[in-house]
């Protein structure tokens, strides 16, 4: 205890040096914590945005085989799915029923291709809150059965204005060409740069275009209460549906979840006679599988951040070693005095170690505080609708750090500082008292 007090007093006594060393540690910890917080928040934000965009965390898709052997994506018999979903009970917050089509929008001599998602807006009211409206209002979309929400870029390219009618050409679920008239009720901020841009239609209007009954759909999305249970509940749902209907084996899907395959252009797939099935075959996937690519990116970013952090630590360590070598030379007579007064070698060594620990610990705490303040400040900035909206939560950057990783990083930096001072501290402890007292530095 006395050694700790002596070390603490030494740190305070040499304030300038302590501030310089501690400042370097604080800077390194600030950068590392900020990057970690950014990547953690990024994955959370994208997960939420993807879940909002796709209508949930778990996705159930159904397909049938037509009389001519073509695979048709539609869920007509909803009983199987509803009974299976009922098993999950209150773990499911909401259900989203959706259809989708690769449509050609035609207006005033111009045409643009746009992926359209038909949503049951009575089940997905939160969707409208998550969209960044550039023009129009959610209420207009709610009021018109043939309403369309289109990315601003598409609206501009077509020369459309909100409230105008546009022709939509698409193929039905059976592969026939059909056209319908829709009303543009809003322009939203798209995310074309990240491949997630599409328009929204009311499911009733889109089903009519796709030659589907109003109560039919192509994808059922489940929005869960607890995101930690995504994988386990996916397995449960898969097993329940598998009891009464054919399913695509987990891990053997040829394509990713809906929004990954949505952007493929293709016609009906012909199923070989020996592989055909009766009724509806179901495929169950979840958002984690869809975000595998992004998770890899975030892991890479975290790895890069860790490497940067370690580089900073090494630089700090070199600084600490050099500084304490200087400290040892300057305080040689002090060391001699302490040794002459009966302080053991271990005590001398431990004084320096505790000094390094206090400098590193306080520097890391300061760095953490500044990082937290920076995170709060940056998260208050609203960037509005822009090309990076998909990575923002309602226009702002979201940060997320976990206490366990923060404590680990803090202990790591303390350990590295202690390790860096170990050699000069041991050398100082080995000084002979008489020689130390004679030193004239």
């Amino acid at each position: 205890m006395q050694i700790m007090l002596i070390a603490f007093r030494n740190v305070v006594r040499q304030l300038k040096r302590s501030l310089l060393l501690g400042g370097a540690v604080a800077f390194g910890f600030f950068i590392f914590t900020l990057i970690n917080g950014f990547t953690g928040g990024l994955i959370n934000t994208v997960e939420v945005n993807v879940a909002d965009a796709a209508g949930g965390h778990i996705y159930v898709e159904g397909s049938e085989v037509s009389d001519l052997g073509s695979e048709i994506t539609v869920i007509r018999d909803t009983t199987v799915v509803e009974e299976a979903v009922a098993v999950l009970g209150n773990k499911v917050e909401t259900l989203s029923y959706r259809s989708q089509a690769n449509g050609t929008l035609i207006f005033g001599g111009n045409e643009e291709t746009e992926w359209l998602v038909g949503v049951d807006i009575t089940q997905e009211e939160s969707l409208l809150d998550s969209l960044a409206f550039v023009e129009g209002a959610p209420s207009d979309f709610l009021a018109i059965e043939t309403g369309l929400l289109l990315p601003q870029e598409t609206v501009t390219k077509l020369g459309l204005e909100v409230g105008e009618s546009v022709i939509v050409k698409a193929t039905t679920v059976n592969g026939q060409i059909n056209v319908g008239d829709f009303i543009v009720t809003g322009a939203i901020q798209g995310n074309e740069d990240f491949g997630f841009s599409y328009g929204y239609a009311r499911i009733e209007g889109l089903n009519n275009l796709l030659d589907m009954a109003p109560d039919q759909y192509q994808t059922l999305s489940l929005y869960l209460n607890d995101l930690t249970e995504i994988d386990s509940l996916t397995e449960t749902l898969f097993n329940e549906i598998g009891k009464t209907a054919p399913t695509v084996a987990r891990g053997q899907q040829e394509r990713g979840p809906d929004f990954a395959e949505w952007f493929e252009i293709g016609g009906l797939t012909t199923i070989d006679e020996e592989e055909r099935w009766g009724g509806t075959k179901f495929e169950i996937t979840n958002v984690n599988e869809a975000l595998e690519g992004l998770n890899d990116l975030v892991r890479t970013m975290n790895t890069i951040a860790l490497v940067i952090f370690l580089v900073i630590i090494v630089i700090i360590m070199v600084g600490v070693i050099n500084s304490y070598r200087m400290v040892m030379i300057e305080r040689t007579s002090e060391i001699g005095t302490m040794r002459a007064m009966g302080v053991h070698r271990a005590g001398i060594r431990n004084i320096f170690i505790w000094e390094a620990f206090f400098i590193a610990f306080s520097g890391a705490i300061v760095g953490l505080v500044f990082a937290l303040l920076a995170m709060v400040g940056i998260s208050l900035v609203n960037f509005g609708p822009n090309d990076f909206s998909f990575f923002l939560r309602q226009g702002s950057i979201n940060f997320s750090i976990t206490p366990s990783s923060t404590v680990f990083n803090l202990l790591l930096i303390c350990f590295m500082s202690v390790a860096s001072v170990l050699i000069p501290a041991t050398a100082a402890a080995r000084l002979k008292p008489a020689e130390a007292l004679r030193a004239t530095h």
Binding site: S66, D67, L68, S70, I106, G109, N110, E111, I167, K169, T171, T172, N174, G175, Q176, I177, N178, V179, G180, D211, E264, I265, G266, G267, L268, T269, T270
Partner: protein, 274 residues
């Protein structure tokens, strides 16, 4: 009242009245009419074709029993984007419902191909060296021609004749047939075709959506006789939804020489691009 008077009251005497000659005359007239109809109706019916059979004839006349190759030149006009020209080498085998389109022009698309085989229609990109599944109902290279315009004619198995009328189109006497698809998977659920009465060739076609909205008008103003079959060597597709947008297809270098079997394989398409 005498017995005779009573009988006459119950059963009036048949008397020759002025009305009777009229009845006999009407009866004769009616008999003549009925006889005439019985003679004429079969004659008239004999001149009205079986339209379902006509569809079969149209298919037979348009399809080839052997192989068919040609060069197709497509000129697509778009009011905004101007004129774009594609040239493709086309191989077709109707007996097996296969075809291969290899793009020759423009240079940027040289080597791209569309291969229709048993498991469907595939698009090949030589840059990525990948085959992508596509659809016969998709437009060919953004033009007004669809991929299935290059395949065999399948009017008879896919459509019923809902209505048939007579008319003329230019100098030709034609049947106007309104067709309805009999399955859900044909590209156009409703068609109206103008077929020459003499040769059974389609001169014009209007293609409608499921909601009976006109999507496209196709003109076949010129045919070439190839063996026993006829091929429209000039086709014009006019987009009904986008004013001014149209595609003209001209077919040249027609040959019915046998095509090696390996041409209709993915391996061949890849090899051509090496």
């Amino acid at each position: 009242m005498t017995r005779l008077q009573l009988i006459n009251r119950v059963r009036p005497l048949k008397k020759e009245t002025p009305l009777l000659p009229k009845i006999r005359l009407n009866f004769a007239f009616t008999a003549i009419i009925i006889t005439g109809l019985l003679v004429l109706i079969p004659l008239v019916y004999a001149q009205t074709p079986d339209f379902e059979e006509l569809l079969v004839e149209i298919d037979n006349r348009s399809n080839f029993t052997g192989d068919f190759s040609a060069t197709f030149t497509l000129e697509s006009k778009d009011p905004d984007e101007g004129t774009e020209t594609n040239q493709v080498r086309f191989f077709r085998r109707d007996d097996e419902d296969k075809f291969l389109l290899l793009i020759l022009k423009p240079e940027t698309q040289l080597g791209q191909g569309y291969l229709n085989i048993e498991d469907g229609l595939w698009f090949y990109d030589p840059e990525s060296r990948q085959f992508t599944y596509t659809s016969l109902s998709e437009s060919f290279e953004g033009s007004d021609a669809n991929n299935d315009d290059f395949g065999a004619s399948n009017l008879a198995p896919d459509y019923d004749v809902a209505l048939a009328t007579e008319d003329t189109l230019g100098n030709f006497d034609v049947w106007i047939l309104e067709l309805e698809a009999i399955n859900d998977e044909v590209t156009y659920p409703f068609l109206t075709i103008w077929v020459t009465r003499e040769q059974g060739l389609v001169l014009k076609s209007e293609e409608y959506s499921l909601t009976k909205r006109l999507l496209r008008t196709s003109f076949y103003p010129s045919y070439a006789k190839v063996g026993e079959s006829f091929i429209a060597d000039r086709m014009i597709f006019v987009d009904a939804l986008l004013e001014g947008k149209m595609t003209e297809v001209n077919i040249t270098e027609i040959t019915t020489a046998e095509i090696p079997n390996n041409v209709f394989t993915k391996a061949y398409v890849e090899r051509v691009n090496r």
